[in-house]
């Protein structure tokens, strides 16, 4: 009999891939979170200047109504409120930055390792394939959450410096957290795409397409009339369920959050299933 196999003696530890992914990527929380937080700080710090919001409203009114209606609703007066301003000038686009990171993170779950060949080493260890997807995705979900929370710190710091500002910090917090389901959906989509297509370039393009596509589908749908196909298609856009203007005015929309999270779970389940079935690295 061979000398004792050391793996046989010990049980393969659960969470090791999760911990290593966090260890390797935690600095991204600082880079992206502080970057986006600084943008939030800058955006909110403009608010106290006298006449700023009035000037902002005039700019909004100069735009074609369909354009701002797509993101801010039909009430132009809302645009002149601090909440409306933050919604239009920060929350409406910063989510795209987190979605972009979600694509990068999604690439790091399997396809980057598959293309570089390190996945061969990883999966030659006593590690089921589903654990690679679940543990790495969980780690990146936490990293994205950390980034998003840091952007709240930026907004909150900016709010502290603006005594005259009457704005509900709780609503800002909700608006910040509202970005998470959208980012997770893009993460889930990218992981799913990587479970089908093995080429990093293809997955990157698909990840980019869902961000840009969702944005423009929502934009064009918002500009179209209620019964048009363009409006109907908005249900396919994650941006449709993001609704920053609605959340900062009325709080979380749990139905939208539920739809995004459910879609994320479905995509991840599909990714696990497909990844379990197929050949690797060919």
């Amino acid at each position: 009999m061979p000398e004792t196999n050391l793996t046989m003696v010990n049980r393969a530890s659960f969470g090791s891939v999760f911990a290593e992914t966090l260890r390797q990527n935690w600095k991204q929380v600082l880079y992206w979170g502080l970057g986006c937080g600084a943008m939030g700080f800058f955006t909110i710090s403009l608010l106290p200047y006298s006449g700023f919001l009035e000037a902002y409203q005039k700019i909004i009114e100069m735009l074609p109504p369909e354009f701002y209606q797509a993101f801010l609703g039909e009430d132009t007066a809302f645009a002149a409120t601090p909440e409306g301003y933050l919604s239009g000038e920060f929350f409406s686009w910063i989510v795209l930055m987190y979605a972009l990171y979600a694509v990068i993170a999604g690439l790091n779950v399997t396809v980057n390792e598959e293309e570089s060949g390190t996945l061969d080493i990883l999966l030659s260890l006593p590690l089921p394939r589903w654990r690679v997807i679940v543990e790495k995705t969980a780690a990146f979900a936490i990293i994205i959450t950390g980034m998003i929370l840091l952007s709240f710190v930026g907004l909150w710091a900016g709010e502290l410096l603006t005594d005259a500002l009457v704005i509900d910090t709780g609503r800002i917090a909700e608006s910040v957290l509202n970005m998470l389901p959208s980012a997770l959906l893009v993460l889930g989509f990218t992981v799913f795409a990587a479970s089908i297509f093995r080429a990093r370039s293809t997955v990157t393009r698909l990840g980019g397409a869902i961000i840009v596509g969702s944005f423009f589908v929502e934009l064009l749908g918002g500009m179209a009339n209620q019964t048009s196909l363009a409006r109907t298609l908005t249900v396919l856009s994650f941006y449709h369920y993001y609704d920053p203007a609605g959340v900062i005015q009325y709080g979380f929309n749990w139905e939208n959050i539920g739809i995004l999270l459910a879609a994320t779970v479905v995509l991840l389940a599909g990714a696990v299933w497909r990844f379990q079935q197929r050949d690797l690295g060919v």
Binding site: E20, S116, G117, D120, S124, L125, L127, R278, L280, V282
Partner: protein, 308 residues
């Protein structure tokens, strides 16, 4: 009673489909590797060696047939089997931004190390003269290979699967590697290694399987292989002799004449050759076993057919 094989494949086949084209990478492989042996899997690039290894490790799935390792299905029981397997890929890729130590720690943590694997990894690194403190991207290809070997052996696996293991190792380290493989065998482990370097296989393997175009052409003991097929006979004569004298002799496939000598490649019996040179004064006779390279070429003749 024969021991249960460590690796057993039954009609293992892999067909890759690219669009409308189907490429048969491995066809009906029936192979058996016994416990405690070093088995060499020999073949040129594209023969199907890596495909076989990836099938054994469940990185890819067979089109038909099956592979059993330690009596368990390589696909259905892959996670449990990977506890007992150490793997070194041919095109080794490790996490470039990690140091050697971090790579070892990562792999050890996935394997559920209690400290002994890392300790053994350090011993192996010392044996291979490898510095763990550098980042993988700073390693030479030889050092990356050493790190790959450490990672594959740090848990003292029952089965080592090594794809072209000595590529990038200098001759001195190849000797160290050979010794490590012999030590592994002495410890009761089984080694399955692929190679296109015949000398490497000859140096350490007990048996060898020869693969070409996805088909297993032969499985032989390395000792037997060197005694099969043909031998080189050099006949030294007192006087000059024309090569045509022996060219038509049954079993003679090559004749070279040089300075009153004929060098003949002979398959089969000696007698017809001696009868053909009867009447010529023979000064001396020399016989030489073919090298493994020559046997290899005999299997992979230019026309692609296996020769006997």
């Amino acid at each position: 009673m024969a021991a249960n094989p460590v690796i057993q494949t039954d009609n293992l086949t892999k067909v890759y489909k690219t669009g409308k084209e189907a490429v048969v990478a491995l066809k009906d492989l029936n192979l058996s590797v016994q416990p405690g042996e070093i088995f060499g899997f020999l073949g040129p690039n594209g023969a199907g060696k890596t495909t076989t290894i990836r099938l054994l490790l469940d990185l890819i799935r067979p089109t038909r047939g099956r592979a059993n390792i330690f009596g368990q299905d390589a696909n259905l029981n892959s996670v449990a089997l990977h506890q007992r397997i150490g793997f070194l890929p041919g095109e080794l890729s490790l996490w470039k931004h990690l140091t050697g130590k971090q790579v070892v720690n990562y792999v050890a943590s996935v394997r559920g190390d209690d400290g002994r694997m890392v300790k053994h990894a350090n011993e192996l690194a010392e044996q291979l003269d490898l510095d763990f403190s550098k980042k993988v991207r700073a390693y030479s290809s030889g050092n990356r290979r050493k790190l790959g070997l450490v990672v594959s052996m740090m848990h003292k696996p029952d089965l080592l699967i090594l794809d072209e293991p000595t590529g990038g190792l200098d001759p001195l380290l190849q000797q160290t590697f050979n010794q490590m493989m012999r030590d592994a065998r002495a410890a009761g482990r089984t080694v399955f290694l692929s190679s296109h370097v015949l000398g490497e296989v000859q140096a350490i393997c007990d048996r060898v399987g020869i693969l070409r175009n996805g088909e297993l052409k032969a499985v032989e003991r390395v000792d037997d292989l060197t005694h099969t097929n043909f031998q080189w006979i050099t006949l030294r004569f007192r006087d000059a002799i024309a090569p045509e004298v022996v060219a038509q002799v049954p079993g003679v496939t090559e004749v070279t004449a040089e300075n009153h000598s004929l060098k003949v490649r002979l398959s089969g019996d000696f007698d017809p050759l001696l009868r053909a040179v009867e009447g010529h004064y023979i000064v001396g006779v020399q016989t030489k076993e073919p090298t493994l390279e020559e046997i290899f070429l005999a299997f992979y003749g230019n026309n692609g057919a296996q020769k006997s």
